[in-house]
Each structure stands twice: as C-alpha cells, then as structure tokens.
Amino acid sequence: MTTNTPLIEMRGITKRFGGVTALDDVSLQIMPGEIHCLAGENGSGKSTIIKVMSGVYQPDAGTILIDGKPAGVLDPVKSTAAGIQVIYQDFSLFPALSVVENLTINSFLHEGARLVDRKRARAMAREVLARLDVDLPLDAAVETLPTSGRQLVAIARAVLADARLIIMDEPTTALTGREVERLFRITRDLQAHGIAILFVSHKMREMLDLSERLTVFRNGRKVAEGPIVNFDEAAITHAMTGRALEVGHYDAPAAEGAPRLEFRDVSVPGHLSNVSLKLWPGEVVGVSGLIGSGRTELALAAFGMLPPATGAVLVDGQDVTPRSVQQAIDAGIAYVPEDRLSEGLFLTRSIRDNSIVSSIRRFAPGLGLNRKAAADATREMFDGMAIAAPSPEVAVGTLSGGNQQRVMIGRWLMTGAKVLILNGPTVGVDVGSKATIHAIIHRMAREEGLAVLMISDDVPELVANCNRVVTMVHGRITAELSGDTLTEDALNDSLRLNIEVPA
C-alpha cells in the first residue's frame, strides 16, 4: 500500500509568532495511504503544522516536499491542488445550504464553473455518499444535521475534491461512541481507497486503535515518531507531557464538624427527587451519571439557578438554600460550568479582568476600582494556578483550554468560596494540564478546607481524583463508592447497572 516516496514531507519547519516559537525545526512525513496520528497537548504546535500544510501559514524556515519534489511556498490553492484537505473542527460548511450544495460547491469552484449544474451536483453527491457507504438526506440544509452528519459532509466534500491526504483536527471531540466507531470505519475505508489520513488527537484510544504511525509534538518540537506498535499508553503520555503521570487515589482528611455542603432532601420537580448528600471540608466528591440523570441539575440547584422546590442546601450547617446566583455566591458556593467558553469567560478581555469579575465588590468598594489590590490578587492567583501565559494582562482567548480552565477556577477561589462545584473540569483539556488542574484542586481542598463536587463522565478521572463518587439516575442518587470499593470497574459496573435497571 505504501510506496517509498512520502506523499508529503516537511523538513525543518520553523514558525514564529512574534516572540513565540510555535514550531521549532519540526519534521513530519506522511506516506500515501497511511493513517498517521499526530499527538500532542494543546499548544504543542499541532494546529500550526496543519495550517502550514494547508498553506494558511507560511513557515519561517524549512522545506516542504510533495511526492518527493520541492513544493516551494504553499498557499491554500496549491495545497488543495496537491490533494491536501483539512477537516477543521468547525467543518467550514455552509449551514443554510443543502447537503448536495455543500458537497459539490468547491468542486465546481475549482473547475471554474460559472453556472450550477444541479443534475450533475446531485449525481456527484450520490456517488460520493455511496462510496463512503453513508446515508444523508441530500436536500436537507446542513444546519439540520447532527454534528456527526456535518462531519460526514465535510469528509465527503474532501473526498469529492480528490483528496489524497485528509487531515482531521480532533474529529472525535463532539461524537458519541457509536459515531466514533463509524468515523473509524470510514477512515479505514478511505485508506482502502488510497487516501492518507492525518488524525490529530490527544485521546489515547484513538491513537492506539486507529493509526499505523504516530508522531508526537511537545512545545513545538517533534519528540517521538514511529510505528504505533512501538508505543503504549504510558510511552505516549510520557512523550506528550515529558513526565510520567502518577495515578492514585485522593485521600480526604477525616470528616469532622459540620458538613461544608449539605443537600437535605432536595427536590426539583422533573429534575431531582429527594437528594441528600453531605460533603465535609477537604473532600472531593464525584457525581456521575448520564446526561439527564440530574448530575448537572444538582449543581444548578446548589448554585441558585434551579432553586429547590422542597428541601434545603446548607453550608457549614447554615441553611442557605439559594434562590439566585448572587445568593449562592454570597453563601460561598462557586460553580465552573461545562461550557466555559460560552458561559464563563470573556475571551477578549485580560486574565486579570476575567479573574476579578466575580469578586469585583472586593476590589471596588465604592465607585472606583482599587487597581493595586486587584493586580496583587490576580498575580497571586496567576502564580498559584500556574497559568502558562506571559502576564495576567493577556487576553483569555489566546490561552489553551487547560489554562482557560485554570482562570475559571482561580476566579472562584478569589471570591473566597468554600464550596467549589466543577462540571466537566477537564473537558477539552490535555493530559498534562489535566494533572495540573487536579493537583490544584487537591491542594485547595486539603489546605483550605474547600469541599469540591466534581461532575464528570470521565470514569478514570473520577476514580483518580475523588475520595467518594455517587452515581445518579433519574434525579436520584443510586449508589456511592468510596475507599477500596472505588475502582474504575466498580464505577463502570454501577453506571451500567443504572442504564439497564432504571430506578
């Protein structure tokens, strides 16, 4: 299947943005028809090299060879002409246009067509979907399709445009398990048709299951490369992060005094029924369950966004049952939502502005802002959270997912919160950042007596970071695992049980 001439070979690519070196003397080879995985943490240079290949960025140094011949400086037109197609995370589709049109519009465009030949467009669309063995409604507007459907349209469009190399940027992020299986099948199909795939990912299972070769980037450099059989999970993690990850339990200090946070028979019609749960200072308690099981609603009930109909929420033994977000904050409850980009952060503002926004009253007792106090507090948070940025003045939008999450958590800690509720704390965060975030959460819990409620569907994450985990089904707590009974297998069993026998 593979010949000896790489389809694309990148030698010594360097790319700088201002003072930051995004790619430092990086080489990457992709053979025709191979499935190649590019792994690396956020900010390792994965996206940058994709943009160099697609001609969006021009490298500062290095050469690119296509089919063994120097390709000169690539631009988007040259790159597509060479058969390189990128499936971006946003798919770059036209939402209001039909599937047929989305599939065929760039083929027509590159033919230099002036008119739209609708019959031919339909035939082309039918043919390519048949080739991929997928069924999509041809005349539906793309916006009416689910994410997986839109991704298929983007892939089929790349195939129609005579792709020889399809680059998929984190393609499984928004897919369910079955959809991932289908994507894998299609990827192997494409390979059978001689199309090479560059799979960009930071998920272990995908790399190990799907790819033939692996290249690992770290901090803009290539740190490992080779056939996938030479790697296992530990080796990849080590290459990606530069350190071995320790997996262990979190041991909470012994429970004493009043619970920091207590749900007492909390009910919200349609969402929660008679939920009781106590968290003592220093505890990290996990909540697991399917979407719709009430796990998020539990957080919202504590944060005043879904006030309980009956029952009470107590902090340090005081009934604080919040009716609004402001009451929850005043009671010392902090909530980091799952979708931090749309619900939590002001992307164009600085880290400092984002940090002080929830504790603004502390720094602005009267009309004016006490800039010195705000800057000092931000600096302290910035250092404590180990945020990787030149200064607290940079815009939050320029940070990686892991660092954004640290800003989110740090912001709440600045409010003097006693209870921290995290929803999907490490969704979209890479391995190394995950570890740092977990370490920070543990330190805060242990040293400052914070009670942490961690909502997640990442079983290994819960097992490694919580001292107790409860599972929820239909708005009720159905099981609690702790100490020796808290293992990945036990938690998986408990979740599976919940699916098969609804309470």
């Binding site: 589709l93 036209f94 209001a96 465009l109």
Partner: protein, 330 residues
Amino acid sequence: MSAQNAWWKSTEAMVAGILLLAMVLIGLVNPAFWSLENLFSLARSNVVIGIMALGVLLIMISGGIDVSFPAFAAAAAYLVVRAMVDWGWPTGVLVPFLLATLAGAAMGLVNATLVWKLRMIPLIVTLGTAAMARGLLNGVVGTSNVNINKYPKSLIEFGKTDLVTMTNAKGATFGLPATVLAYLGLALAIHFVLSRTMIGRSVYAYGAAPEAAKRVGFRTGRSLIFVYVTAGALAGFAGLLHSSMIWMANPRDFVGWELDVIAAVVLGGASIFGGRGSVLGTMLGVFILVMIKNSLILMGIDTTWQRVVVGAMLIAAVALTALRDRKAIV
C-alpha cells in the same frame, strides 16, 4: 435550498399564507380592494420598491445591510434628468436608463470598496455614503425639482405606457403600467443569478460563513463587489423609473424609503444574519408591505401612523426570522 423540507413549511409558503390571509381580511372589510383598478394600482406601487428590495436582498444575503440606496436612487435619477433638461443629452429612454443604472453602480462600487478593503461595517459605510451622496447632489447640482412642465417628454411617454387600459364606472381610464414588466424581468434575472450561478451561490456562502467561504476558495471580494454594485445599479434604475412614473425629478426624493424596503425584505424571510433569503419571498414581502400601506390609506389612517405600523412590522418580522434562524442552528 431546503427542498427536503416540504414546500408548505418553507418561509416563502408562510409569507404567501400571510399575504393571502391579509388579502381576504382586507377584502372583507373593503370589497373595493378586489376591484381591478385597485389591483392595478397595487401592482404599480410594487415596481419601484420591489426593484430596490431586490438590491437590498442581495446585500442582506451577503450578511450586510444597505441604507444608501434611497440616496443613490435620488442622485442617479436627478443627475440624468437634469442633464436631459439642461444639456439636451441624453435623449430617448434607453440611454437615460443606462446612465442612471451606471451611476448607481458606480456609487455601489464605493460601498463595495469600503466594505471589502477597509472591512468596515456595512451599516456605517452606507450611512456615510448616503449622507455624502445627498449632500453632494444638493450642494453641487441643485435642490430644485424638475417638474412636469420641463420634464423630458420621452420619459413621460415611457412612464405612462400601459399594458392594459380600462375604463372604470366613472369613465376614467386606468391601466397596468408596462414598468411592471421591468420589475418582473429583473426579479427573474436576480433569481436566476442567485440560484443557478456560482457568483450567486457565493453570496449565500459568504453570508452564512465568511471564513468557510474563504477556505473553500471563493474569491469573496468579488462576491462583495457583485452584491454592492448590483444593488447600486438596481437603485439607480429604480430611481429613474420612479421619476418617470411620477413625471418629476426631486433631488430630495426617497427619504425614509430604507425603512419600507428593508421591512419588505425581512418580511420576505431574508435573514439579517446573512445566508438566507429568496427573490420569491422578497417579492411577497414587498407585496404585503405595499398592500398594507395602501389599505391604511384607504382606511384614512394618517401617514405618521403608517410609519408606526411599518416599523412594528419590521420588528415583528426580524423577531420571527431571528427565532427561525436560532431554531435552525440548535
């Protein structure tokens, strides 16, 4: 576009439904509505606002908005008529209309350049160019109307050409003006361009997702130039057409028309977020707007109150389409 969704669920069908309902209601209140004379007069009122709406439709599909077309229309019409009166050139019908169209296109090119090259917000650009067009016209060329006594005879003849002429009960004649054909022809042409040509599709693509359009390889600058120049040309043409239908050239004409035309286009289902809209919908939207204004006049409602009604219709239509678009995205 979304032909898979049954046709009766399409925006156009909904707008047509509203139109029919309104026609039935108005007809019940005032049976004179269905008289041929009234229908012809309605058709006549559709022409100028309809042609302008086609231009605004293009710009709205591309994700922009235009408030300069009334100024461009007034300027193009007045310049051409003034030249005909003062210099005796151009003469006839064809050349004047060609010149008015070109003048509008040239002004549209200014909009296009500012929007494309300087990446400025279309609303601000067109507000500015509108003010400048009106200011320059009144300051440099003049402020006095060209009235019927001086108005070029060729244009008067053109403006009163009827396709069908009839006599009503009182013995007065009325007819269906030939200018309706110009409107229908242009609508057909724009419909063809929008739905069957790559440049037309590029307008939808750019309006829906500018970044994606660039990545796919559309020359988006060309799409923008096409949109703004065509809208300017349509405005220039409509300006002179209007002038020839009322036998007068007023350099301060079309004040406040942006409200009516934008309301009509939005009523017709075009999205203020870009990427959506059709010629058929726009024509229906124009018809609804004209008909309701016409009925308000028949009911003897004051013009100031008409503006309240049109403003309310605009906001209701924007709210409805925004709701539709948001629903579609989720």
